[in-house]
């Protein structure tokens, strides 16, 4: 247990020591989105009845930032350690693959939560955002960022160069997170794109997370939660299998 705690603590310390870049910067980016969209779409028709568009944006921006930062934390930490060679110190230790996986994913979730809380606190200064279902909110937050933390472990294990990791981030995570209903409701899409969007697991994270705030969603929240938990379980199993085999780690 001490071994897991130490690696978890070390991973927390790693992003805490550069918190300006790892927590503050994404909060500022989200607030800039909010500012630009709020002023551009001032007076835009309400997507959720009774919720101003700018308030509608906040949960989506929070979840999108959680998705991107959870992924970035585990993947960049792993790839960086692999390329610098200091992953050796973890590989020489008696830590089990499960402890290894949980520490990286745990730290990714904590960074994601820190970013989300930062955005919420900053947004609350000038927008009223209710929280109708805190349990759903926590569940979607934890499983969503956990899934992306686990996906980050897969990408970090797989990538042998920084450009490979950047490719994964720019061509997989970014498009999926942008096209997941952060800025719009599914109902606003043409039928074809609505169907395509349903194949994106990140859509259910954002829709469910938004349900936690406003109590309305495009997809039934329990259906979304099942999909998000299923996605988390699937990527976790793949990540654990790779770490357990030592794929591109112990060779």
């Amino acid at each position: 247990m001490i071994g897991f705690q130490t690696l978890f603590y070390k991973e927390l310390l790693r992003f805490y020591k550069v918190a300006f870049q790892t927590v503050m910067a994404p909060v500022v980016t989200a607030l800039l989105y909010l500012l630009v969209f709020a002023s551009t779409f001032h007076g835009h028709a309400e997507i959720v009845p009774g919720v101003p568009y700018v308030a509608f944006l906040v949960p989506g921006l929070m979840m999108m930032s959680m998705i991107q930062n959870a992924f970035a934390n585990s993947s960049s930490s792993l790839t960086q350690s692999k390329i610098a060679g200091n992953l050796l110190f973890i590989l020489l230790s008696p830590l089990s693959p499960l402890e290894f996986f949980l520490a990286f994913v745990g730290a990714a979730v904590i960074r994601a939560l820190a970013v989300a809380i930062g955005i919420y606190v900053a947004a609350r200064l000038f927008i009223d955002i209710p929280i109708r279902h805190p349990v759903f909110l926590m569940a979607f937050g934890l499983f969503g960022s956990g899934a992306l933390g686990a996906l980050g472990v897969i990408a970090g294990v797989w990538a042998e160069r920084f450009d490979q990791l950047a490719g994964f981030q720019n061509f997989v995570v970014m498009p999926l997170s942008f096209l997941s209903g952060v800025f719009y409701s599914l109902r606003a899409l043409p039928p074809f794109w609505r169907e395509v969007s349903h194949a994106n697991p990140l859509l259910y994270m954002i829709d469910g997370f938004r349900y936690g705030f406003f109590g309305t969603s495009d997809v039934a929240p329990l259906v979304s939660l099942s999909i998000v938990v299923g996605f988390f379980a699937a990527v976790s199993l793949v990540a654990l299998a790779l770490v357990g085999r030592g794929y591109r780690l112990r060779n």
Binding site: Y9, A84, N86, L88, I90, S93, P94, R250
Partner: protein, 310 residues
């Protein structure tokens, strides 16, 4: 049933490893006894680092078994890794942390924290002359200091077996001397030491037993003294009272150098006899005033073995 003897520090049976088409390890069998100071030598690419990686769990063997203090490195990896400390060849470090943080984190990975381990970590810092750098970031250290931190990291969990993979490559003379004093102390305290080095005089000075690896195989495995006895040649230097003008015909083929009244012979072990050489010189009218013999060193044995293999 319990055995009165401790298990071997390292036991390797039939280890085979490929990297793509390269056959890096070819059925290695090797046993290092508890408490030994063991040398693992070989030219670049012989497979030394790959073998160490298999022992440390950094690479998986295609077949065969390896164990540290009786613990299989795959099926009982936790116990095996607790018994093993590895000082890697490359200088690697985590740029986010200070020296003390690095050591505390490494100890934590092994499930160690608390006052006793903290005292040991501080002792390591003092012994390795890093005490005043404890709170410095790893990035701020010189190459030599980083290497000492690597040694401290390998020892933070007090492993029974310590593997040093070319720890003195690119290290200055002073640090090398202090490093060997420290490693000798570890050995005296009961640690099993396995050393790979390119500096053969280091292996000759330190190791009890030596394996020489060639092309993924163990080409020689013996005590240091037995290995030295394998050398085919030794040197005899003879000084005479008068300058030597005519070298006796029977001796010409054995002469390596000739300077005025001094001859240096290269003698074939087992066939050349020193009394016969001296007798031949006396018969030619020379008065021998001084003789000196020089045994082969490990470097000569090493070169003979590696050349023979080629």
């Amino acid at each position: 049933m319990t055995t009165p003897f401790p298990p071997p520090a390292i036991s390797i049976q039939g280890i085979d490893k490929h990297f793509g088409r390269v056959h890096a390890l070819r059925g290695i069998d090797l046993e290092v006894r508890a408490g030994e100071f063991f040398g693992l030598l070989g030219p670049n690419g012989a497979g030394k680092s790959t073998l160490i990686s298999v022992l440390a769990g950094l690479a998986r063997a295609d077949s065969g078994h390896a164990a540290i203090c009786g613990h299989d490195v795959v099926s009982a990896y936790r116990q095996a890794r607790r018994a093993l400390g590895v000082v890697p060849q490359e200088i690697v470090f985590d740029p986010f942390f200070t020296v003390r943080e690095v050591l505390a984190i490494q100890a934590g990975y092994f499930g160690l924290k608390g006052a006793e381990n903290k005292a040991w970590r501080e002792e390591l810092l003092t012994t390795l002359m890093l005490a005043d750098k404890g709170d410095a970031n790893m990035r701020a250290l010189s190459g030599g200091m980083k290497r000492r931190v690597l040694i401290a990291q390998a020892l933070v969990h007090k492993p029974q077996v310590v593997i040093l993979d070319e720890p003195t490559a690119g290290v200055d003379v002073e640090l090398r001397a202090s490093l060997w004093t420290f490693v000798r102390r570890l050995h005296a305290e009961g640690h099993t030491i396995v050393l790979t080095t390119h500096y053969l005089e280091e292996a000759e000075a330190l190791c009890d037993r030596i394996a020489i690896m060639m092309d993924g195989q163990i080409a020689a495995l013996d005590s240091k003294d037995a290995l030295l006895r394998r050398a085919m040649h030794r040197t005899l230097s003879v000084t005479t009272a008068e300058p030597i003008v005519d070298i006796p015909a029977a001796l010409v083929s054995k002469v390596r150098t000739h300077t005025e009244n001094r001859l240096e012979f290269s003698l074939q072990r087992g066939t050349d006899s020193i009394p016969e050489i001296l007798e031949a010189l006396r018969a030619a009218g020379y008065v021998v005033t001084d003789i000196a013999t020089e045994q082969a060193n490990l470097e000569e044995v090493f070169l003979e073995l590696t050349h023979k293999a080629k």
